[in-house]
Structure formats: structure tokens, C-alpha cells
Amino acid sequence: MNPLVFAFAAMVALVLSIFRLPNDWYAWLSLWQPQWLLLLLMYWGLQVSSRLGVLWAWLGGFFVDALLAEPLGLNGAIFAAMTYVLLRFRERILMYGPVQQAMLVLVFVAAAQIVRSLCLIFFNNQDWNVLPLTTALASALLWPYVYKLLRALEPKGGFR
């Protein structure tokens, strides 16, 4: 994927991850906010990333930490771990159908969110909540469409 296109997609994902719903909308809707960054990261891990992907993912995590006011390094660790697993099993995962992939996304995002919640409880004195499950479900449901969209942004030459 063209680096510029990817940078744009990353920016859109960052903006979407801090986007808020209007005050007078139902509060529960915000519980179902998909994890755009993790979706993009999964696509990147499966289709774009090379050997150095883990390092890039780790470094990129710092910007997310600064954006979301989370302890520095938290998102880096999550991103790096996810990229590592994705790179390790890339060929196998690419063989899966959309439904299987979506289920995998559910597991990945839920795991990532649970790790994040645990760290926030530990470092930032926060409470446990249902966000890991709801956001993971929303992300999994959106995965096939995000995948198709990002796939359409790839150059048609067939290389990667």
C-alpha cells in the first residue's frame, strides 16, 4: 500500500478514535465505538507489514498513548504483540473466510482491550467496565467492510 495512503488511513482512524457522539444521543451508543486503530493495525499486519512491523507498531503506539492520555507505552505493547502474532500466522489467517476472520478480530480486539483495561486499572486507578466486549463485537462486525475498503485502496498491480 502506498505509504501516503496508509498515513491518511491512520489519521482517519486516529480521528475516529477520539470522535465523540453528540451529548443528546443515547449514552450506550458510545460503548459500541469500534476500535478503528486496531482494525487498521490488523489489516496492516496481514497485508502491508514487513519484518520490521513489530517495531513500527510499537513506536506508533506512543502517539496513540499521547492522544488518548494513557500511560506511555501501553498501546505500543498492545500493538507490537498484535503485530507479532499477525505476522507469525499471516498466511493461515489470510486463508480464512470473512466470518472466521471476523471471529478472530473479536478475539484479538477483546484481548487487547482487556489488557488495556487491566493496565488502566493498575496505573490510572480506573474501574472495570464492559468496553472490551462491546467494542470488540462492534469491531468484529465491521471487519469485513473495513477489510474490503482498505483492499480497494491497494494498488491494482497485485504486488504488496
Binding site: A66, A77, N129
Partner: protein, 271 residues
């Protein structure tokens, strides 16, 4: 390799949470990513601008009238305040204590709001170029709103008093009884920690900042007591309080500059 990354991350996270060493890294990163908040907030700011430009003349006139009445009432209060303050200063000088100097304030607009179940903060459009520093208190028109936790060049992040990670030393306006008001994560309640059952506190009491701890200036309203529950099985009373600041509605905030560097014209304590 992955283990190394994870360990390093955890180490950094701990360093970041419990010490101050990474502040420079944080503020640099914040500098880079904070413009994204303007983009994320654009739909709201554009729509509110549109709404503003489409207000009818009639509505504007009504608004003007309302504000005129408000201004009259406030200027009455301000006149009373002047004489009360002079009185207060005189009495304080009789007691040979320093005069309480009101700090100056800077008006800032909220750029973005972030409220997840786990964190509550807002981003404002003022930063280091306006002289802001980490730790300054932030008010809205009604009461204490939060404090600055991250300052970039032109934007800053304000941690709200209702965040679970936030606590503010308070005193009861009526009798000076002290306590600490911690955030609960919900918009309309704070909790007083470790209030002994013998403490003189009643429903309707006003809590203001006590200035202890040195972070918040003294005397700004924080919350109102809504319920006091005395449980025979506990040595502490459970006190529910409601923050006075309009956490959900305020658009403009005041950043307070502490008055410690201002010159006092009152006699200092003579030894």
C-alpha cells in the same frame, strides 16, 4: 524480542504514571497529535457556528435583554463584593495574616471532550504560549472544573474533577471542616473520603477548595452536599456531593493563575 518490547513498555508506563521524568516526551507527542482534536471536533464547531449565524433578530434581542438583567444582578453582587473584600482585608491585617489575593484568570474554549467510562477530560485551546503550566486549576462559571495535566504549545488537556483519578482538598464553607473530594467517574457526583461521623456536615453545605496541598487556590466553590448517610457499622459517614461546575454543558473555562507571585500590599507577618 516481543518480550523485550513488552517489558520496556510496562517500565515506561510505570515511569510515566508514577514519576515526572517523561513529561518532555509526553508534551512533544501531544504537540504532534493534538491538532487531531480540532479535526474530530470540526462537525460540532461547524454546526454550532452555522446555528449562530442563523439566529433570528428576535432571538438575539431576547438574549440581549436577558443578559442585561443578568449583568445588572452581577454588578450588584460585585459592588457588595468590593466592600466585603475591603472589610475582609482590614480584618485580616488586624489578625496579622496575609491578605488572600485573587488570582488572575484566562478564558479558554473547550476544543474537544473525551468521556469514556474510564476517563474524563477535555482539551482547551490555550497552551504554553499563553503561559499555562501543568497543575493549574480550571474553573467554569459555576465552580471548580478540573486541572491542567498536559500542556502543549497551543492546546492543553484538562482532567475533570469527576475523573476517578482526581481528588481535591475541600473545606465546608460554613465551618471550615476539611475533607477530600474524589471523583467517581459519574457526571453528577463526587465522594468525600474518610469523613468521621462526628464531622459537622449537613445536606446543602457548600464545599470550597481549601488550598491545602498547594495545587488549587483557596476559596473556589467545588460542590454541594446532597446526602449524608450515617451508618452505625462504620466509623466514617458516607457523604454524597454534587459538583457545581456544569461538567456537561460549559463551553468556556477559566484557567486560574495562582497569585503567589503577586505583590501583597498587606503587612506580612512581623516577627
Amino acid at each position: 524480542m516481543l518480550l523485550g518490547f513488552t517489558m520496556l513498555s510496562l517500565f515506561l508506563a510505570a515511569l510515566d504514571s508514577y514519576t515526572d521524568h517523561l513529561r518532555l516526551v509526553r508534551s512533544t507527542l501531544w504537540q504532534i497529535v493534538s491538532p487531531l482534536y480540532y479535526i474530530a471536533e470540526a462537525p460540532y464547531s461547524i454546526s454550532s457556528d452555522l446555528k449562530q449565524s442563523l439566529v433570528s433578530r428576535q432571538e438575539l434581542l431576547e438574549q440581549l435583554e436577558r443578559q442585561r438583567v443578568e449583568l445588572l444582578a452581577l454588578s450588584h453582587t460585585a459592588q457588595r463584593y468590593q466592600s466585603l473584600r475591603a472589610d475582609n482585608d482590614r480584618m485580616r491585617s488586624l489578625l496579622e495574616s496575609k491578605a488572600k489575593l485573587p488570582g488572575s484568570v484566562l478564558i479558554a474554549e473547550i476544543v474537544s471532550v473525551r468521556a469514556t467510562p474510564s476517563s474524563h477530560y477535555v482539551v482547551i485551546d490555550k497552551g504554553a504560549v499563553d503561559g499555562l503550566q501543568v497543575g493549574q486549576a480550571v474553573l467554569d462559571a459555576q465552580g471548580l472544573f478540573g486541572q491542567l495535566v498536559e500542556v502543549g504549545n497551543t492546546t492543553s488537556r484538562v482532567l475533570l474533577i469527576i475523573d476517578k483519578d482526581h481528588a481535591v482538598p475541600v473545606q465546608v464553607n460554613r465551618n471550615g471542616a476539611r475533607s477530600i473530594a474524589g471523583g467517581t467517574g459519574s457526571n453528577d457526583s463526587l465522594v468525600l473520603e474518610n469523613v468521621p461521623v462526628s464531622m459537622d456536615i449537613m445536606v446543602g453545605d457548600l464545599l470550597e477548595t481549601s488550598g491545602l496541598g498547594g495545587r488549587f487556590p483557596v476559596g473556589y466553590p467545588v460542590a454541594e452536599v446532597t446526602a449524608v448517610v450515617l451508618d452505625a457499622s462504620s466509623v466514617f459517614a458516607q457523604v454524597q456531593v454534587r459538583p457545581l461546575a456544569r461538567i456537561n454543558q460549559s463551553r468556556f473555562l477559566l484557567v486560574v493563575f495562582a497569585a503567589s507571585d503577586a505583590v501583597s500590599n498587606m503587612p506580612d507577618d512581623r516577627s
